[in-house]
Structure formats: structure tokens, C-alpha cells
């Protein structure tokens, strides 16, 4: 998983020390953790929700992490714990927005009619932009499965759908996105 990459690029003792210090109230240690993990968290949030909400939600994730650090027991990597916390914050926001209603039934081509769609490489839409234009349900399943590596059963539990819906949304998302690959 991606989280392991972060843990591997920094000495484990450095992260463990900062987690222990931050848990005891050291804001400087927490700032170091923030700077190590912010790109990861912001990218997840930006891909799952709208880009204009990503900054606020990223801050929410880190504030929540600060509040919950005492519950981190070191059984998983800190990055994995923080990542799961970020997913929960995003899903909580999604519920607040009520975006789950009716968004799990995208049409055959969720990106049909999107302006800027072109067949030539130089004009092709950026893959992340195309991802952002998917219907919310398909986008979240795609990000959780193909980008983050969650299984359908886990995604179904998180989103409150059956695994079959998760599989179907994933397929719709992939079918829509294949036209926006770099050619």
C-alpha cells in the first residue's frame, strides 16, 4: 500500500518519536508529522471530493488526528492510521452533503458531454481532471479501489452499499476513464 512508502522513506524511529511527542502535546512534533503526510492526505481528499473543499477537509483531518492521537496504539503504521482517519472524515463529509443519494446509478458514460474532451493527445483531458468529473459514487469507489487499494467488501462497508454495487461502479468509472488515458 502507498502508506508503506511514506513509512519507508523516513526512519521509523523518527516517525515513532514524533508520534509519541505529539501524543503528549508537542505541537512541533505534530507539525513534522503534518509536513510528512500532508501531500498524501490532501491528494486523497481532493480525489474523493471537490478540489475546492480539499484544503478545509485536509485541515479537518489533521485536527481530528491531533484529537485522537492518544487512541493510536501503534498496531499499524501511523500513515495507515492517518489515512483511514482521512477516509472517515471524507465519508462523514459526504454524508453531510447528502451526495450519496442517487449518485450510485450513473449512466453508461458518466463523462459524456464533458467539455474539453478530445481524441488527440495534446488536447486530452488530464486524468485527474477526468476523475474529478465522475459521478461521486463512481469516483469514490474508483479512488478507494484502484488508487488506495481497498477491497470491494471494505468499500461496501464504508459506503453502505453491497459489494456488487461497488464492482459495478468501479467498472463504470474505468470504462469512462479509459478515453482519457495519455495516448
Amino acid at each position: 500500500m502507498r502508506d508503506q512508502v511514506i513509512e519507508d522513506t523516513l526512519p521509523a524511529d523518527s516517525i515513532a518519536a514524533d508520534v509519541a511527542l505529539a501524543a503528549s502535546g508537542d505541537a512541533s512534533a505534530f507539525e513534522r508529522l503534518y509536513r510528512t503526510h500532508v501531500a498524501r492526505v490532501h491528494s486523497l481528499v481532493r480525489r474523493m471530493l471537490d478540489a475546492d473543499e480539499a484544503d478545509d477537509l485536509t485541515q479537518d483531518v489533521f485536527v481530528r488526528a491531533w484529537e485522537k492521537l492518544s487512541t493510536f496504539r501503534g498496531e499499524s503504521a501511523f500513515a495507515t492510521w492517518l489515512h483511514r482517519l482521512a477516509v472517515n472524515v471524507v465519508l462523514g463529509r459526504r454524508k453531510t452533503l447528502g451526495v450519496e443519494r442517487g449518485r450510485f446509478h450513473g449512466g453508461e458514460d458518466p463523462l459524456e458531454g464533458v467539455s474539453g474532451r478530445r481524441e488527440t493527445p495534446e488536447m486530452s483531458m488530464d486524468f485527474e481532471d477526468a476523475l474529478a468529473r465522475l459521478p461521486d459514487g463512481a469516483r469514490q469507489v474508483f479512488v478507494l479501489h484502484d488508487v488506495e487499494g481497498y477491497r470491494h467488501e471494505e468499500i461496501a462497508r464504508m459506503l453502505g452499499v453491497v459489494p456488487g454495487t461497488s464492482k459495478s461502479q468501479l467498472h463504470h468509472a474505468r470504462m469512462a476513464l479509459r478515453r482519457y488515458l495519455d495516448r
Binding site: 502507498r2 526512519p11 521509523a12 524511529d13 523518527s14 515513532a16 518519536a17 508520534v19 509519541a20 511527542l21 501524543a23 503528549s24 508537542d26 505541537a27 512541533s28 505534530f30 507539525e31 503534518y34 509536513r35 500532508v38 501531500a39 498524501r40 490532501h42 491528494s43 480525489r47 480539499a54 484544503d55 485536509t58 485541515q59 489533521f62 485536527v63 491531533w66 484529537e67 492518544s70 487512541t71 496504539r73 501503534g74 453508461e108 486524468f127 485527474e128 474508483f142 484502484d146 488508487v147 464492482k167 459495478s168 468501479l170 467498472h171 474505468r174 470504462m175 476513464l177 479509459r178 488515458l181 495519455d182
Partner: protein
């Protein structure tokens, strides 16, 4: 074109088809160029998703986080090197800061310790135990780093640091001994955690200074 197998191609890519279905789909793929092309594109989408790179936000969001967690200290890391101190000065300052605040904590705890002895609820006690074990492991790791890098510091500095470690280790041992006699004492538990945190902080600072000498 969309035939009966098109909607199963993602499951095929993910290895989620039962063996009978997989065999049937593979037989279909042998005769359907369009499904083969779609399959290849789906595989590329999956590969593209895995290759997406994380990007930091355009603006620095730390100030907002710091404000909300009640930290007055929003430190610009780039400006931290404006002042120049010698290595012994830096280490002496770290030790003084850490030991002085530790003494204050100890005195505060001792005065309160006699007043109240509250058994810690099991759940909190477990969290504290796990946290202490984690800190032990982090201290051991950092101590190892220090042993490897201490040759970068001059002998007198190393001696001062080791004296500070001895002082902190004695405080940790005393707190542990007191806890054996009174395991439910919340203040002793806090004192132990705080003293360990101070050792962690000192090790981290000294290691950073030693690393900067390379």
C-alpha cells in the same frame, strides 16, 4: 459495441471471476477484437491509477491547523536556521530546557501525589501501558542512532549528554519503582510518561545536532 462480456471485463482484470466464467471469457476474447482492446484499456486505467502521484496543497495549511489545535507556535522551518549557536551551546540549552521542565513537573506531581490517589480505569491504564511500551521502543531506536553518531560530537559534549541521560534514566527508574508499589497512581503514571517523553525529546534533538555535523 457492448456485448454480454463487456461488463465482466473489470472483474476479469481484478481476478474476481470464477474459473468457469474466466474460461468462457477467455474463449470469447480469442474471437472478439473489440473486447480485447477494451480489456487492454481497462488495464491501462488501473495502471494509471496506481501511478498517480500525491501532490501537496498549493497553500500551506499548517497555520490553520495550528490555530485550531490551540498551538501558538507556527514555526516556519525555513527560518529556523537564522541564528547560529555552537553545538555545545545547542545541546546545553536542550538539556537545561528538558531537565528544568522535568523538575517542575516532578515537584508539581509530588505535591499533588500525597493528596489524591485515584485508581486509573482499566481502559486508560491499558492505553498508557501501550503508549509506554511504544515510547520504550522509540527511545531504544533513538539511543541506537545516538550510539552510531556520537563520534561526530566532541568528547566533552558526549559526556554532558550522557550525564543528562543518567539523570533522566534515574528519574524513569524511580518512577517505575514507585509505580510497582502503587500501580494505580495516576500522577506517577503521568510522571513516568512525561519523563520518558523528555528523554525522547533530548535524544531527538541531540541526534539532529549530531546528524547536522556530518
Amino acid at each position: 459495441m457492448n456485448d454480454q462480456w463487456t461488463d465482466r471485463l473489470s472483474e476479469y482484470v481484478d481476478g474476481e471471476l470464477a474459473s468457469g466464467e474466466r474460461t468462457a471469457l477467455e474463449a470469447h476474447l480469442a474471437t472478439c477484437a473489440e473486447c480485447r482492446a477494451t480489456l487492454e484499456e481497462l488495464r491501462r486505467v488501473v495502471a494509471r491509477a496506481k501511478a498517480l502521484e500525491d501532490r501537496a496543497p498549493k497553500a500551506d495549511l499548517w497555520a490553520g491547523v495550528a490555530k485550531r489545535i490551540g498551538s501558538g507556535q507556527v514555526v516556519d522551518i525555513r527560518s529556523r536556521r537564522r541564528f547560529s549557536f555552537s553545538v555545545p551551546q545547542l545541546i546545553a540549552a536542550s538539556i537545561a530546557l528538558i531537565l528544568l521542565s522535568g523538575s517542575g513537573m516532578w515537584l508539581a506531581l509530588r505535591s499533588r501525589q500525597t493528596a489524591t490517589r485515584t485508581p486509573r480505569p482499566d481502559a486508560e491504564w491499558q492505553v498508557l501501558n501501550v503508549s509506554t511500551r511504544r515510547t520504550d521502543a522509540a527511545i531504544a531506536d533513538l539511543q541506537e542512532v545516538f550510539e552510531r553518531n556520537k563520534s561526530r560530537l566532541d568528547t566533552s559534549t558526549v559526556r554532558v549528554v550522557q550525564q543528562a541521560f543518567t539523570t533522566i534514566d534515574r528519574a524513569i527508574a524511580e518512577a517505575r519503582a514507585a509505580l510497582e508499589a502503587d500501580p494505580g497512581n495516576a500522577y506517577l503514571n503521568l510522571h513516568l510518561a512525561d519523563t520518558m517523553r523528555r528523554k525522547l525529546e533530548l535524544l531527538r534533538r541531540v541526534n539532529a545536532i549530531a546528524a547536522a555535523q556530518s
